[in-house]
Symmetry: C2
Subunit: 108 residues, 2 copies
Protein backbone atom coordinates (compact mmCIF):
# COMPACT_ATOMS: atom_id res chain seq x y z
CA UNK A 1 0.00 0.00 0.00
CA UNK A 2 0.90 3.65 -0.44
CA UNK A 3 3.21 3.39 -3.43
CA UNK A 4 2.68 7.13 -3.71
CA UNK A 5 4.67 7.69 -0.57
CA UNK A 6 7.57 5.80 -2.14
CA UNK A 7 7.44 7.95 -5.22
CA UNK A 8 7.08 11.22 -3.34
CA UNK A 9 10.00 10.61 -1.00
CA UNK A 10 12.17 9.21 -3.79
CA UNK A 11 11.43 12.29 -5.86
CA UNK A 12 12.37 14.58 -2.97
CA UNK A 13 15.65 12.76 -2.39
CA UNK A 14 17.41 14.53 -5.23
CA UNK A 15 18.69 18.10 -4.81
CA UNK A 16 18.07 19.00 -8.44
CA UNK A 17 14.45 18.00 -8.12
CA UNK A 18 14.02 19.89 -4.86
CA UNK A 19 15.50 22.95 -6.54
CA UNK A 20 13.04 22.57 -9.41
CA UNK A 21 10.16 22.44 -6.94
CA UNK A 22 11.44 25.58 -5.27
CA UNK A 23 11.55 27.34 -8.61
CA UNK A 24 8.01 26.25 -9.43
CA UNK A 25 6.90 27.67 -6.12
CA UNK A 26 7.35 31.11 -7.70
CA UNK A 27 5.47 30.45 -10.91
CA UNK A 28 4.66 27.90 -13.60
CA UNK A 29 7.51 27.36 -16.03
CA UNK A 30 8.29 25.81 -19.40
CA UNK A 31 10.69 22.87 -19.46
CA UNK A 32 13.44 24.87 -21.16
CA UNK A 33 13.19 27.61 -18.56
CA UNK A 34 13.30 25.09 -15.75
CA UNK A 35 16.49 23.71 -17.24
CA UNK A 36 18.21 27.07 -17.69
CA UNK A 37 19.88 27.48 -14.26
CA UNK A 38 21.29 23.94 -14.28
CA UNK A 39 24.47 22.66 -15.85
CA UNK A 40 23.03 19.33 -16.89
CA UNK A 41 21.40 18.52 -20.21
CA UNK A 42 17.83 19.30 -21.10
CA UNK A 43 17.20 15.57 -21.41
CA UNK A 44 18.24 15.05 -17.83
CA UNK A 45 15.86 17.79 -16.70
CA UNK A 46 13.10 16.19 -18.72
CA UNK A 47 13.66 12.95 -16.83
CA UNK A 48 13.62 14.74 -13.50
CA UNK A 49 10.32 16.36 -14.45
CA UNK A 50 8.93 12.96 -15.32
CA UNK A 51 9.86 11.63 -11.92
CA UNK A 52 8.26 14.64 -10.25
CA UNK A 53 5.19 14.09 -12.41
CA UNK A 54 4.86 10.41 -11.59
CA UNK A 55 5.09 11.31 -7.92
CA UNK A 56 2.26 13.77 -8.42
CA UNK A 57 4.38 16.68 -7.25
CA UNK A 58 3.94 18.58 -10.48
CA UNK A 59 1.55 18.48 -13.40
CA UNK A 60 2.52 19.19 -16.98
CA UNK A 61 0.25 20.64 -19.58
CA UNK A 62 1.31 20.99 -23.17
CA UNK A 63 0.17 24.21 -24.79
CA UNK A 64 1.43 24.55 -28.31
CA UNK A 65 5.00 23.39 -28.43
CA UNK A 66 5.82 24.33 -24.86
CA UNK A 67 4.96 22.14 -21.92
CA UNK A 68 4.12 24.04 -18.78
CA UNK A 69 5.12 22.66 -15.42
CA UNK A 70 2.98 23.46 -12.40
CA UNK A 71 3.61 22.69 -8.77
CA UNK A 72 1.03 20.39 -7.17
CA UNK A 73 1.55 20.99 -3.47
CA UNK A 74 -1.23 18.63 -2.43
CA UNK A 75 0.96 15.63 -3.23
CA UNK A 76 3.22 16.67 -0.38
CA UNK A 77 0.38 16.39 2.04
CA UNK A 78 0.53 12.60 2.35
CA UNK A 79 4.24 12.77 3.03
CA UNK A 80 3.72 15.58 5.49
CA UNK A 81 1.01 13.64 7.25
CA UNK A 82 3.27 10.62 7.49
CA UNK A 83 5.96 12.62 9.20
CA UNK A 84 3.72 14.47 11.63
CA UNK A 85 3.67 11.59 14.09
CA UNK A 86 7.42 11.39 14.55
CA UNK A 87 7.77 14.28 16.92
CA UNK A 88 5.23 17.02 17.23
CA UNK A 89 6.54 19.63 14.81
CA UNK A 90 4.69 22.85 15.02
CA UNK A 91 4.24 24.51 11.65
CA UNK A 92 7.25 26.60 10.75
CA UNK A 93 6.97 30.27 9.94
CA UNK A 94 8.23 31.51 6.62
CA UNK A 95 11.61 32.68 7.91
CA UNK A 96 12.95 29.21 8.50
CA UNK A 97 11.56 28.07 5.22
CA UNK A 98 13.15 30.87 3.26
CA UNK A 99 16.52 30.02 4.73
CA UNK A 100 16.10 26.47 3.52
CA UNK A 101 15.13 27.63 0.08
CA UNK A 102 18.26 29.73 -0.23
CA UNK A 103 20.36 26.78 0.80
CA UNK A 104 18.72 24.64 -1.85
CA UNK A 105 18.58 26.86 -4.91
CA UNK A 106 21.30 26.10 -7.49
CA UNK A 107 24.30 28.46 -7.63
CA UNK A 108 22.66 30.79 -5.13
Amino acid sequence: MAPTLDLVFAALADPTRRAILSMLLEDDMAVTDVAAPFEISLTAISKHLNILGRAGLISQERRGRVKWCKLEPDALKSASVWMQGFGQFEPIHLDAFERFLKAELPET
Copy 2:
Protein backbone atom coordinates in the same frame (compact mmCIF):
# COMPACT_ATOMS: atom_id res chain seq x y z
CA MET B 1 24.46 21.82 0.36
CA ALA B 2 22.13 19.91 2.68
CA PRO B 3 23.29 16.38 1.92
CA THR B 4 21.30 15.42 5.00
CA LEU B 5 18.07 16.19 3.22
CA ASP B 6 19.11 13.83 0.44
CA LEU B 7 19.79 11.06 2.90
CA VAL B 8 16.64 11.58 4.93
CA PHE B 9 14.31 11.58 1.94
CA ALA B 10 16.12 8.66 0.31
CA ALA B 11 15.81 6.71 3.55
CA LEU B 12 12.09 7.45 3.73
CA ALA B 13 11.51 6.34 0.14
CA ASP B 14 11.53 2.64 1.05
CA PRO B 15 8.43 1.04 2.61
CA THR B 16 10.47 -1.43 4.65
CA ARG B 17 12.38 1.41 6.23
CA ARG B 18 9.23 3.40 6.92
CA ALA B 19 7.74 0.32 8.57
CA ILE B 20 10.87 -0.02 10.71
CA LEU B 21 10.54 3.61 11.81
CA SER B 22 6.91 3.00 12.71
CA MET B 23 7.90 0.02 14.81
CA LEU B 24 10.57 2.04 16.60
CA LEU B 25 7.96 4.66 17.37
CA GLU B 26 6.60 2.20 19.93
CA ASP B 27 9.86 1.31 21.60
CA ASP B 28 13.58 0.71 21.13
CA MET B 29 14.33 -2.66 19.55
CA ALA B 30 17.19 -5.07 18.91
CA VAL B 31 18.16 -5.72 15.30
CA THR B 32 16.84 -9.29 15.36
CA ASP B 33 13.50 -8.15 16.72
CA VAL B 34 13.25 -5.45 14.09
CA ALA B 35 13.82 -8.11 11.45
CA ALA B 36 11.25 -10.55 12.82
CA PRO B 37 8.08 -9.31 11.04
CA PHE B 38 9.78 -9.12 7.64
CA GLU B 39 10.32 -11.87 5.11
CA ILE B 40 13.72 -10.63 4.00
CA SER B 41 17.07 -11.70 5.42
CA LEU B 42 18.65 -10.29 8.55
CA THR B 43 21.48 -8.97 6.42
CA ALA B 44 19.04 -6.93 4.38
CA ILE B 45 17.53 -5.48 7.56
CA SER B 46 21.01 -4.65 8.79
CA LYS B 47 21.61 -2.67 5.61
CA HIS B 48 18.32 -0.84 5.98
CA LEU B 49 19.24 0.08 9.54
CA ASN B 50 22.56 1.41 8.30
CA ILE B 51 20.82 3.64 5.80
CA LEU B 52 18.47 4.89 8.50
CA GLY B 53 21.47 5.50 10.74
CA ARG B 54 23.43 7.43 8.13
CA ALA B 55 20.37 9.60 7.58
CA GLY B 56 20.29 10.29 11.31
CA LEU B 57 16.80 8.85 11.63
CA ILE B 58 17.86 6.25 14.16
CA SER B 59 20.79 5.71 16.49
CA GLN B 60 22.25 2.34 17.38
CA GLU B 61 23.92 1.47 20.63
CA ARG B 62 25.58 -1.87 21.19
CA ARG B 63 25.02 -3.29 24.66
CA GLY B 64 26.51 -6.72 25.09
CA ARG B 65 25.84 -8.71 21.99
CA VAL B 66 22.64 -6.95 21.11
CA LYS B 67 22.52 -3.64 19.27
CA TRP B 68 19.62 -1.45 20.25
CA CYS B 69 17.93 0.73 17.67
CA LYS B 70 16.36 3.97 18.76
CA LEU B 71 14.25 6.40 16.78
CA GLU B 72 15.75 9.89 16.40
CA PRO B 73 12.76 11.99 15.44
CA ASP B 74 14.73 15.23 15.29
CA ALA B 75 16.25 14.21 11.98
CA LEU B 76 12.82 14.47 10.44
CA LYS B 77 12.60 18.08 11.41
CA SER B 78 14.74 19.38 8.56
CA ALA B 79 12.67 17.44 6.07
CA SER B 80 9.49 18.63 7.70
CA VAL B 81 10.67 22.22 7.61
CA TRP B 82 11.53 21.88 3.96
CA MET B 83 8.02 20.75 3.13
CA GLN B 84 6.15 23.30 5.19
CA GLY B 85 6.42 25.96 2.51
CA PHE B 86 4.71 23.96 -0.21
CA GLY B 87 1.17 24.53 0.90
CA GLN B 88 0.22 25.52 4.38
CA PHE B 89 -0.35 22.21 6.06
CA GLU B 90 -1.83 22.54 9.47
CA PRO B 91 -0.54 19.91 11.86
CA ILE B 92 -2.53 16.72 11.54
CA HIS B 93 -4.33 15.15 14.46
CA LEU B 94 -3.49 11.62 15.43
CA ASP B 95 -6.42 10.04 13.60
CA ALA B 96 -5.03 10.67 10.16
CA PHE B 97 -1.62 9.58 11.27
CA GLU B 98 -2.82 6.32 12.74
CA ARG B 99 -4.56 5.46 9.50
CA PHE B 100 -1.30 5.98 7.68
CA LEU B 101 0.54 3.81 10.14
CA LYS B 102 -1.87 0.95 9.63
CA ALA B 103 -1.46 1.23 5.89
CA GLU B 104 2.30 1.08 6.26
CA LEU B 105 2.91 -1.68 8.79
CA PRO B 106 3.97 -5.00 7.25
CA GLU B 107 1.32 -7.73 7.04
CA THR B 108 -1.06 -5.67 9.12
